[in-house]
């Protein structure tokens, strides 16, 4: 049976109404609302980005995965894993800011330039700096959150201390104490007891990072990038923030230990040498940790 235009539009309206029912309490993004925010700006160093200037680049290079309204439902999305970011939620893995806060413009700029390891998001370093800054503003115009909230205050990263045997050993104790191994495995092979059950916010299965593969992390490859990842957490994934319970000097120790789990690469020569020298073995969760020094006692259980 063929429907006339009126019937079709009626059916369309009914469908839209059904989809927007109370079960979809979330604000449904619309192109119209987003267009109202095309004046969004970004500020990276002395660059100013303008969303309106990035329209053509977004439509040419980004829309296929991230979609016309930025909800991550581009035409390629069904074939991708991990899924493209839904910009309408304004939630990002790679941040210098605390968990639950918006990233800085620079964080987004760096992600566009660097790409996301173990995903189909490549480094977009063929763009000029200005194009990237404009795209940052465009990414932001998809969510009203950027008009009502300020980005979080970046976490403090003190300068990196020297890699010493004590610090590597301290990092190993933290790896056991903080139970990183529950997901990442005792050798960092992403095979901990909870690894199989992990899902992201869209309930898609997600793998923990496998330290024994390569040198890069999801959000960069430097020691400071690794520091940021576990202190801020990767929002939208099972990886939590440890900032409340790990002091900056401890965070560096953990960085050094995690580097020993990686194969030899451009970044971990010192850590690998120390691990070899110490004859460092993987942790055994069944062996209790050495008692903490007396000074650390007050933070223990009551």
């Amino acid at each position: 049976m063929r429907m006339n235009l009126f019937q079709e539009s009626l059916l369309g309206t009914a469908l839209v109404l059904a989809l927007c029912g109370p079960s979809f309490a979330q604000i449904t993004p619309t192109k119209y609302d987003e267009d109202q925010r095309l004046n969004m700006e970004s500020h990276v160093g002395n660059l100013s980005g303008h969303a309106s200037a990035a329209k053509a680049d977004y439509r040419r290079y980004c829309v296929g995965c991230h979609g016309d309204i930025g909800d991550g439902n581009g035409e390629n999305a069904p074939y991708l894993d991990p899924k493209p970011r839904n910009f309408t939620l304004a939630q990002f893995k790679c941040r210098s800011t605390p968990t639950g806060t918006l990233p800085t413009d620079e964080d987004l700029y760096n992600t566009i330039a660097r790409g996301l390891d173990r995903s189909v998001m490549p480094p977009w370093n063929t763009f000029t700096k200005q194009q990237r800054a404009d795209l940052v503003a465009y990414v932001k115009h998809f969510s009203p959150k950027w008009t009502t909230e300020k980005p979080g205050i970046p976490i403090v990263i003190p300068s990196e201390p020297e890699v010493t045997a004590d610090r590597v050993k301290g990092g190993q104790v933290l790896f056991q104490k903080l139970e990183c191994w529950k997901c990442h495995g005792v050798e960092g092979k992403a095979n901990g007891p909870s690894a199989d059950t992990l899902t992201d916010d869209q309930n898609h299965p997600i793998l923990p990072y496998n330290f024994t593969e390569g040198a890069r992390f999801k959000c960069g490859s430097s020691d400071a990038d690794l520091f940021k990842i576990f202190m801020t957490g990767l929002d939208g994934t099972p990886m939590p923030s440890f900032a409340d319970n790990v002091k900056p000097e401890e965070a560096w120790e953990l960085v050094f230990y995690l580097r020993t789990l990686q194969p030899k690469n451009d970044f971990n020569a010192r850590e690998k040498a120390i691990a070899k020298q110490l004859g460092l073995k993987p942790i055994d969760p069944n062996v209790p940790l050495p008692a903490p020094p007396a000074a650390a006692a007050p933070s223990g259980q009551e």
Partner: protein, 248 residues
């Protein structure tokens, strides 16, 4: 079978204590209310056979499994008493508030405790802006990961012995699911309401304080959703509002 029997005993016991307790609580609430205040109380029931709650296998977390070795834990989607009282139902005012109630946000923080790899309570209710303490009583690390839609999502690790931390919720949201990725069986809810609220106890009873007036009450249950009811509160005269959810 053993579990069911245990539940029945617990239910009977709580049912017996309930009458005394409810009376005591009502008395207390009326006393605590301002001179012109009123109160609403009621019981929430489940009509029909409660759905089977699946046993939870905690063998992957021996420190938690040990806590429950005598009384295995089940899922908590529908928790009922022997007399059909439905626990963990959030009751709040969805219409009729004057707006002045916001100034009455409790200074007493709500709390959610991770104990035996469960969230206690399973459903937390609190006011937007009210403080909430997150506590880890376990000998294992948890990551507490609420997944709100109208509030900001965050995800924090809380190792054993770590001090409690404090959070607030800016926007009304009923309810925010909360989970632990390390222990995938851990599920709970945080209901963020505006204005006075109550939550049904193990026997299905609840109460809340309200100034005299006409209101619409909403009762929300995680599996069965929401129900509303009009209720009028008169000064010094406690009102009653009972809700019945139908088992699917």
């Amino acid at each position: 079978m053993k579990t069911e029997y245990g539940f029945k005993i617990a239910a009977l016991l709580s049912g017996g204590v309930l009458v005394v307790l409810a009376a005591a609580m009502l008395g207390q609430k009326v006393d605590a209310a301002p001179a012109s205040g009123g109160s609403i109380s009621g019981t929430i029931k489940l009509d029909g056979t409660p759905p089977h709650q699946k046993p939870i296998d905690m063998s992957k977390e021996p420190s938690c499994a040990a806590i429950h070795k005598d009384k295995p834990i089940t899922t908590e989607g529908v928790v009922t008493s022997a007399s059909g009282g439905l626990a963990n139902v959030v009751v709040y005012v969805s219409q009729g508030l004057t707006g002045n109630e916001a100034s009455e946000i409790s200074s007493e923080p709500a709390s959610i405790t991770q104990k035996g790899c469960q969230y206690i309570p399973h459903v937390v209710v609190l006011d937007a802006g009210q403080h909430m303490k997150v506590i880890n009583d376990d000998q294992t690390s948890h990551n507490i990961h609420p997944q709100p839609v109208k509030n900001s999502e965050w995800n924090k690790s809380q190792p054993p012995g770590a001090p409690p931390f404090d959070v607030t919720w800016a926007n009304e949201e009923i309810a925010v699911p909360v989970k632990c990725n390390i222990h995938p069986w851990m599920h709970g809810y945080i209901a963020v309401v505006k204005g006075p609220y109550g939550i049904s106890d193990d026997s299905g009873s609840f109460s809340l304080n309200l100034p005299p007036g006409s209101y619409t009450l909403t009762a929300w249950q995680e599996v069965y959703g929401a129900q509303t009811q009009a209720v009028t509160v008169a000064a010094g005269k406690p009102a009653t509002a009972n809700f019945t959810f139908k088992a699917k």
